[in-house]
Structures are given as structure tokens and as C-alpha cells.
Symmetry: C2
Subunit: 355 residues, 2 copies
């Protein structure tokens, strides 16, 4: 892991050089972990385990507090670990000033305003967003192996989930069963809050599992993922509980699966991701149902459930080998619900494979 | 709930007036919920469900996206709900500019830098941290009832927990049992990441439950809490697994319980909280073990596990009726572990009661 992180930091230095950044301050948790292996989750909500300073001359710093000293020195050159006390931003600022770098980049989208204000005092700071994300968009072998493993657990769950989606059970109860299944099989947490939506609830854009009860002969949309070995999975299936799927359901399922198959079949390196979205839209347009497809085709996934690239009409990203994205078309009807179907796919040298 | 929130907003207006703030932009999740009842948890990690603008003339705004329209209008005057699309900060900025308020406060400690930058363009903005927290420090009847209920579930768990702390089981397995107990009894989530620390691990400042196995005759420190009806609980017990507690353990337990009892007995309205901390320190000093007490006596607790006031030597807060704080002295020894014991207490008109 140390060597892998070192290589990532070297690549980041090249991107920093292009942007004229002498030292980049990393405050975003997933980026810190990607570059250091240091504490993806700090175990206490709302606290920060630490920060990095990646420098043009390779003298990189890890900032943390005394609780993490032991964990930090297992991963980082002790002479470049800085332990802060009561006022992290102020003391990091003092330390960085002494190092004497010219232009300091920072991650403006996630760093809190007050922290940045103290941190930047007397320094020449510029926004340095997106550089680490640009590296993270292409997964290496280790990351692909982790994602496949998380994905495999998600497939296993989807095989099992019909057994707990029985008439009389609530969305909430099924969601809790799903969480226990993931955790009992080694996941550290959910990758995101599970969606279990019965009937018309599947058409709600904001479907939190509630007290709605599964009935005989009704659709249930299940969109769930886990974090396993730090990497996220994300899968959606829509199942029919009962033996007589309605005509609307069967027809909608066919459109959705056809759109997903077509989009995935079209994907290859060099293709703008928005074209993949367009392929799915085209299938829906031909079927006269395009208005019922109300969201993006998908998103990148890795250390975070939603990461670059976005897979929609506004994206200017191009598919490249090593990207892992979701393909999750859906059609929604407030009267009875809807269907969404999702796979994660890995872009290879000559196409994509479902994970 | 609507009426309660309305009253809170009126109190906030008085504080804003003192600070010369014409409109206060609320981005901190717990503060938003406290003032509006709107979505403590948005169900998607790393996303914001919305924001508030509390104004001097009582024309308060709720900002959210279209997913939350139905939830929002159940709680808020429809004519003052603003639905943003792709660029929340920019569109909120445009809208607020049109409203024409003079000085706009914002919560600098939690708002991301880039959001604040777009949000504040062309507005006269000032830091308005701590005003809502000042209100939240005194709990009302409903809040005290919720906290008592969360606390009662925590007590129930502590009664049960020795049954799962058996020799051969790992910290991790016990922590997962604890989480399931809380959730199966109605908690929506853990209030914070559970600490289950076997033997010497209890002395680590950063004790994440791991693969350490409980042995015959060893201490286990358990510091856990749940969120029930939106409010948090937090309790610590240290138990001895086996029938022959060591002399060190028994002696340390006696010091810790004595210090806790003394601190709680001394607490009353009007007392500076740092004096409560000093009472515990004095007990440890008299016993010659004060060096082994390495943290604060406690913290406020409510919608967040850690909220105002801090209960330590640096705090300038004074105890007032309606405050809920923890009292959690501990003594730690790297060779064998340590003991911490914690209760939540409610400050009353003439003292405090354990919850």
C-alpha cells in the first residue's frame, strides 16, 4: 500500500506542476486515504483524522492529532508527521509558512470556510480541486479487485433478497435485513442509505424506507450497496412479489433492460460518456417512454459511491480503460411505481465488462 | 413541532438583533432541523437536504431541491420554499440578493469554502456561528423526554451487554451485537462509533473495535450510544469478564466512581462547568492518580453527541437548568487498560439528576 500511495503522489505532483501548484493541501477524506492509506474512517463522526500536504519536491507531510500517532507512523516517515493540538488550522498554517512553498492549493469544495480562513493566513492559496479526483477516476488493479469483491457481495445479496421481501413486511424491516446481511458478510458499512421502495414509492425521487408494507402482487425496487475493504458497491434490482407481474411492470422491465443492455453494449474506450446516456434515451424514445426516465444513466464509483465521472448529458468525460461506472436506467410512474436496473461496469481495452 | 420551531426562530431573531444580523443563513444540519423540523438525515451521505434563511422580519425561507418538495411543504409555508436545481449556492445567492436584507450571517465552521464563496457574492456577509447552538444548549421538555428515552435504551443495553462479552469473542463482534441491539429496539443509528476495548486497548486514545479477543479475567471498556427519535445517548461502563477482578481494576474503579459521584454531587445551576471538572480532578489528585485522567469530564449532548457546553478546564460555560451533559471520568494505564464510567445528567432548578 505504501508503494502504491507513493506512486499516486508522484502522478499528483505532475498534475500540480501543470497547474503551477507548489504544495497541495488535502482535506477531503477519500483523497487523503487514496494518497496515504491513512484512516478512511476516523471512527468518530464529524471529526477529521488528518490532512496531507503534497509538495513539489516530494517532502510530503501528514498532519494529525496525538490519537493517531501510532497509526500514522506505520504509514508515514515519522520526521514528516506533524501532530497538532487544540487549533489544527492555525498550527498547520504556522507549520506550512515555515516550509516556505510559494503557491498552496486547497480543496475548496469540502474544506470548511473557517478552517480555510485560518489555514490560508499569510499564504498564497489557490483552489486546487479535482486533481486527486482526476487520478482516482482510473482504477488500478488492487482497486478493481476490491470493487469486484464488493460487487460480488452485492450480487450475493440480490440472490438472497427475494427471501426477505415477503408480503406483510415493511420497507424498513427489509432495509435492516439488508444492512445486517452486508455486515454479517464482512462489509464495514453501507455504501449509501438503502432504498427499498414498495409500489408507488419507487417513483418517489427521495425514497427512504418507511412503514409501507409489501403486498401480494406488487413491485419492490431495491437499490443498495456496501463498503467492503474500503470500496463501494451499488446495485439496483426491481422484483415482483407474487406470481402475476402486471403488464405495465413486464413491459417497463423490458424497456429498462433493453436500454441498459444497449448502453452497455455501446460503451468502449474513447466514447464520450454522454453518448452512453444517449443510447439509453434513444431506446426509451423509440418506445415512447423517454419522459419517464428522469435521472442520469450512472456515475463513477470507487472509494466513494458517487465519484467522477458523472454519466449524463452534461458530462464531458470520455470512457477510458480502468474506469468503473454504473449503468442504471429507470422508468417511473407515480400511479404504480417503476423499474430501475443497475450494474457496475469496468471499462477495458476494447469495451466494458459487467462486474 | 411546527409551533416549537416557530418559537425557537423567534428566540433566534432576538440573538440576531443583538449581533446586528438581518438574516442568518443556516447550513449546519442539526441547526436546520432544530429550527424547522426538516430532515435531520437526508438519507444520502455527503448531500445536503437544504438550508434556511432566518430573517429579522419573520419571513423565513427554506431552500431545498425538488426531491424534498413534499416533505418541505408539510413543514413550511409553500410560498417561502425555494427549490434550487444544479447550482444551489449560486441560485440561493441570486434569491437572497432579491430579498434585499442588509447584513447576512452564515455558519463559517461548517459551510464549505466554495459554497460560501458563491453564496456570498454581492452580499454583505458576516460570521454568525454559535447563535443556534446558544439556544440548543438549553433543552425544552420535548427534548428532555427524547433524551431520557434514548438514555433508557442505553441503560437497557448496558444491562444486557455482559451476556455478549464472553471469553473468545472479539471487540468487533461485540460492537456489532451492540449496534443490532440498538437498532432492533428502535434506534435509527448509532450516536457515534462504538468503543469496545479489551484490556490494554482501553488505554488507547483511539480505540476502534478490532480483532482483539476477550479473555477469561479481563476488563472491557464499553462506550456506546444510540440515536432514538433524533436525540443521542452516550454511556460508558467498564466491566470485568470473569470472577476475579484484579486489585488494580477494583482500586481504579473505586477512584473513578468516587470522582464521578463527587462531580455530579457538586453540580448545580450557576456553577462554572470547569469547577465540575476540577472536583473530579481533586479526587484523583488526592488519590495520587491525576496523571492518568487524560481527557475532559464531559460534553453537552442533544441532537449531536458532542455539542455545547464542553465540560473541561478551558470552558467558560455556567450550568443552567435544562442543560444535559455527560460526566465521564476515566483513568488509563497502558499496561493493563483502564476504567471509564459515564452518565448523562440533566441540570434542574436545584442540582442535577442522572438520566
Amino acid at each position: 500500500m505504501n508503494q502504491v500511495c507513493q506512486t499516486r503522489r508522484e502522478k499528483l505532483r505532475a498534475l500540480m506542476h501543470e497547474k503551477g501548484i507548489d504544495a497541495l493541501f488535502i482535506s477531503h477524506e477519500a483523497n487523503r486515504y487514496y494518497l496515504s492509506g491513512f484512516e478512511l474512517h476516523d471512527g468518530q463522526k464529524n471529526e477529521y483524522a488528518g490532512y496531507l500536504l503534497i509538495t513539489k519536491d516530494g517532502k510530503d507531510w501528514l498532519f494529525t492529532d496525538s490519537r493517531y500517532w501510532d497509526a500514522a507512523k506505520r504509514l508515514w516517515d515519522e520526521s514528516r508527521i506533524y501532530i497538532y493540538r487544540a487549533n489544527p488550522a492555525g498550527s498547520i498554517n504556522e507549520h506550512i509558512k515555515q516550509l516556505g512553498y510559494g503557491t498552496i492549493g486547497f480543496e475548496s469544495k469540502t474544506i470548511p470556510y473557517a478552517f480555510q480562513k485560518s489555514f490560508s493566513e499569510g499564504l498564497h492559496c489557490v483552489e486546487g480541486d479535482g486533481l486527486v479526483e482526476e487520478l482516482r477516476i482510473i482504477k488500478d488493479e488492487h482497486e478493481i479487485a476490491c470493487l469486484k469483491e464488493a460487487c460480488a457481495l452485492n450480487h450475493k445479496l440480490m440472490q438472497w433478497v427475494p427471501s426477505v421481501c415477503r408480503p406483510g413486511r415493511t420497507e424498513k424491516a427489509v432495509a435492516w435485513d439488508i444492512e445486517k446481511f452486508f455486515r454479517d458478510h464482512g462489509a464495514s458499512e453501507l455504501a449509501f442509505s438503502s432504498i427499498v421502495a414498495v409500489g408507488p414509492n419507487a417513483a418517489l425521487p427521495h425514497a427512504i424506507p418507511g412503514d409501507t408494507v409489501i403486498k401480494e402482487e406488487c413491485p419492490v425496487l431495491i437499490d443498495v450497496g456496501c463498503r467492503l475493504n474500503d470500496y463501494c458497491s451499488d446495485q439496483t434490482r426491481t422484483i415482483w412479489v407474487g406470481s402475476k407481474p402486471s403488464d405495465e411492470f413486464q413491459q417497463t422491465m423490458e424497456f429498462v433492460r433493453t436500454a441498459q443492455d444497449a448502453a452497455i453494449a455501446a460503451m468502449r474506450p474513447g466514447m464520450p460518456v454522454k453518448e452512453a446516456h444517449e443510447v439509453a434515451v434513444k431506446v426509451f424514445e423509440d418506445a415512447g417512454v423517454a419522459d419517464a426516465f428522469t435521472h442520469s444513466l450512472g456515475h463513477g464509483i470507487g472509494l466513494e459511491t458517487h465519484e467522477a465521472p458523472s454519466v449524463n448529458m452534461r458530462s464531458d468525460a470520455v470512457l477510458k480503460p480502468g474506469m468503473v461506472i454504473t449503468a442504471e436506467p429507470g422508468l417511473y410512474y407515480p400511479e404504480w411505481g417503476g423499474v430501475r436496473w443497475e450494474h457496475m461496469v469496468l471499462v477495458t481495452e476494447d469495451g466494458v465488462v459487467r462486474m
